[in-house]
């Protein structure tokens, strides 16, 4: 449970190998979190040494984003390990390349299942638990890619658009329950997952995203952008006429 100076004790990371997710977890551990559950397919055999070095107890849990039937059990498993979930970071996803998706529609649908429908079942399972315990925050890693979907990565972007809308609706449904949802919209973040993508303007490092998340959790924000300048940038992008938008290379 969050304490009176905003420190949390337990963190569950869905997508236990996500670089951004792990940066958020590390940040929360630096601020005082003591129990961490890293959930990923096959578990996380070798968790980052930094977490234990900072004094956190790290647990590993099996989590398959493509198996929605198992998501409630995953949440229950995390509760069995650490008790009440103070912060759940929903960070799993795949990026892929648009050209490959266009060549292989089935692969595109599988990616969309990870990036969207997987979050629907996992998000609802987490929300049910947070509602029951009367407190807690779900951090959802959305993306500016979903704010206005672009031609060059619309398979990924449309899934993020769906996720972003889902997370906002979930946040509203949890209003007054003691639980809350924080939607995070990073821009381009250089990580292993994005290594094959050309850099975009206004990049943010995983640590900067983590800092924004930490500040958002403390302030009670519903949405954070990383870097912050992306909020006004995308307010402008949304107004851009379609013929121009269509031609944007990135």
């Amino acid at each position: 449970m969050r304490d009176s100076v905003g420190t949390v004790r337990t963190v569950l990371l869905l997508g236990g190998r996500s670089e951004i997710g792990l940066a958020i977890v590390e940040r929360l551990v630096r601020e005082g979190a003591r129990e961490v559950v890293l959930a990923a397919r096959g578990g996380v055999a070798e968790p980052p040494a930094a977490l234990a070095a900072l004094g956190a107890k790290v647990h590993s849990l099996e989590f398959d984003a493509t198996a929605p039937d198992t998501h409630t059990a995953t949440v229950d498993g995390a509760v069995a390990l650490v008790g009440d979930l103070d912060v759940v970071v929903d960070a799993f996803g795949v990026l892929g390349t648009q050209a490959d998706y266009e060549a292989d529609p089935a692969a595109a649908a599988r990616a969309a299942a990870v990036n969207y429908t997987g979050h629907v079942s996992a998000g609802l399972a987490v929300a049910a638990r947070l509602r029951e315990q009367g407190h807690g925050a779900l951090v959802v890693l959305s993306s500016v890619a979903g704010v206005r979907v672009r031609r060059f990565n619309f398979v990924y972007g449309s899934a993020k658009a769906g996720l972003d809308g889902f997370a906002q609706g979930l946040a509203d449904s949890l209003h007054g329950s003691g639980a809350r949802v924080l939607v995070v919209r990073p821009g381009y973040v250089p990580t292993r997952m994005s290594a094959h993508v050309d850099p975009a303007p206004f990049p943010a490092t995983p640590a900067q995203v983590a800092e924004a998340v930490s500040a958002g959790l403390r302030s009670g924000a519903t949405t954070v952008w990383a870097p912050r300048v992306l909020a006004p940038v995308f307010a402008g992008m949304r107004l851009m006429p379609r013929p121009i938008w269509r031609r944007l290379g990135r």
């Binding site: 449970m1 304490d3 009176s4 905003g6 601020e31 407190h135 007054g176 003691g178 009670g220």
Partner: protein
């Protein structure tokens, strides 16, 4: 039972930090309390009074919170025995008014009248007379406890279940729900205090004057200025008092010496911007407050409400701390550990901690409650904005100093300490747990504080 809303209610302590949701029910009788305990869900039950604990002591996330403020009824004063029997939901506001009219006063009052009798016992509250009279628990002659097992127990300090009585004093509501208590009362001749005030110029002078003169008065307290710079840090306004007799009053007040004027409180604005209380505004307030106090005044007649409960004059003053809320840090260090006290005060001063209610007091003997806070030594209470950057880290450092000096934190004020720290500060915790396991084998009673500090 009173209506049970379907929707959970968000609750915080007086510091307005870390809200959690619970189902709130309002029992009006001991029988309704017993029923609520019997119907406990998997997330447990907790009694709550007027919500003046600063942290998370009166919250139970996901569970059922019994708002006990309707657990009221007649107050029965027995003048021959010098005691009063009062339902647990009655506030000190009402109890004090009732007693003063009849020439009595409560044996101990905290700094606000806005606490219930049940809550005051659960926190084993202390007041300005702790050095002379100990805490409230020392004046509880008996109490009625609704236990989670369905039993109604009558507990006394030396009766059959003295151990459960001890566990309940300062037990933060985790041993049962107090439904009624009998307290010793103090006869008084007037509703006034005879107050001596002294202004000190340095921390050394403050500590010295308090050490030398504490025993001469029933009530003492010192307001200190941590924002003053250099050698002026820790300068203060020391007030010491006894109950006034009729002859201590000016003639105009002698006609009706027991008349109690609580006054109607001013309300703080419903919203304040974050950062309203900062080291500049509070520093200015401190300078004015101290400047307005006399350097030395003797025998001033002050109404009881003004002397004991100055903050009750502003309803909802906690809102002045803005949307992030406030944290109160209160600790005690044994006599002889003055260096730790001074180090923490200096640390707060260096951090520019804008506390406009910094209170220093000497405590006397404790009550023997396993989790009761007071013990002989110096206690300091500071109010800090919860949004102060680096606050968590600074307070953790202070916790370490306290541990090294055999000091402890007050659970009714805490919302942020970690479990290991508090376990080390309360060596009677294992004994308390044993008693608790006996009266609450299924773990029905629970609070956010208990979960955070792993008390159960």
């Amino acid at each position: 039972m009173a209506s049970q809303p379907e929707r959970p209610v968000l609750l915080t302590g007086w510091g307005r930090t870390a809200p959690t949701a619970a189902r709130v029910v309002r029992p009006r009788s001991a029988a309704q309390v017993a029923r609520a305990l019997a119907e406990a869900g998997p997330r447990g039950v907790l009694a709550r009074g007027l919500g003046r604990s600063y942290g998370d002591a009166a919250q139970a996330a996901g569970g059922t919170v019994l708002d006990c403020t309707e657990l009221t009824g007649p107050i029965r004063l027995d003048a021959d025995r010098g005691e009063v029997t009062v339902p647990a939901g009655v506030s000190f506001e009402r109890l004090i008014a009732h007693l003063l009219e009849r020439g009595y006063f409560v044996p101990v009052t905290p700094g606000t009248r806005q606490v219930t009798v049940g809550g005051a016992i659960a926190a084993d509250v202390h007041g300005k007379n702790h050095h002379a009279d100990s805490s409230l628990g020392a004046h509880v002659r008996s109490l009625t406890l609704a236990a989670p097992t369905g039993e109604t127990l009558t507990l006394t300090p030396d009766g059959g279940d003295a151990e459960l009585f001890r566990a309940t004093l300062g037990g933060m509501g985790l041993t049962g729900v107090v439904t009624e208590a009998t307290l010793a009362v103090l006869p008084v001749e007037t509703s006034y205090m005879r107050v001596d005030t002294d202004r000190t110029d340095s921390l050394d002078a403050t500590l010295d004057l308090m050490s030398r003169t504490d025993a001469d008065y029933r009530y003492t307290v010192c307001w200190v200025d941590l924002l003053a710079k250099g050698s002026a840090m820790g300068r203060g306004v020391l007030t010491r008092a006894d109950h006034a007799g009729p002859r201590d009053l000016p003639p105009a007040l002698r006609r009706d010496p027991l008349r109690h004027r609580a006054g109607s409180p001013l309300a703080a604005p419903p919203w304040a911007p974050p950062g309203l209380l900062n080291s500049w505004t509070v520093g200015a307030f401190n300078a004015v407050y101290r400047g307005a106090a006399p350097r030395r005044r003797r025998g001033e007649a002050q109404p009881i409400a003004g002397f004991f409960h100055p903050l009750d004059a502003v309803r909802g003053w906690n809102r002045l701390y803005g949307p992030h809320g406030l944290v109160q840090y209160q600790f005690v260090v044994p006599f002889g550990a003055e260096d730790t006290l001074v180090r923490i005060m200096e640390g707060l001063s260096r951090a520019g901690a804008p506390s406009f209610l910094t209170v220093l007091k000497r405590l006397g003997e404790g009550t023997g409650g396993h989790l009761s806070f007071p013990r002989p030594g110096w206690t300091l209470a500071v109010d800090l904005p919860a949004g102060l950057p680096g606050l968590g880290r600074m307070l953790r450092r202070f916790d370490e100093l306290l541990l090294a000096a055999d000091g402890r934190l007050y659970l009714a004020k805490d919302g942020r300490a970690d479990a290991e720290t508090v376990h080390a500060m309360y060596p009677d915790l294992p004994a308390w747990r044993k008693v608790r396991e006996r009266v609450d084998p299924d773990g029905v009673l629970v609070s956010d504080l208990a979960r955070r500090l792993r008390l159960l």
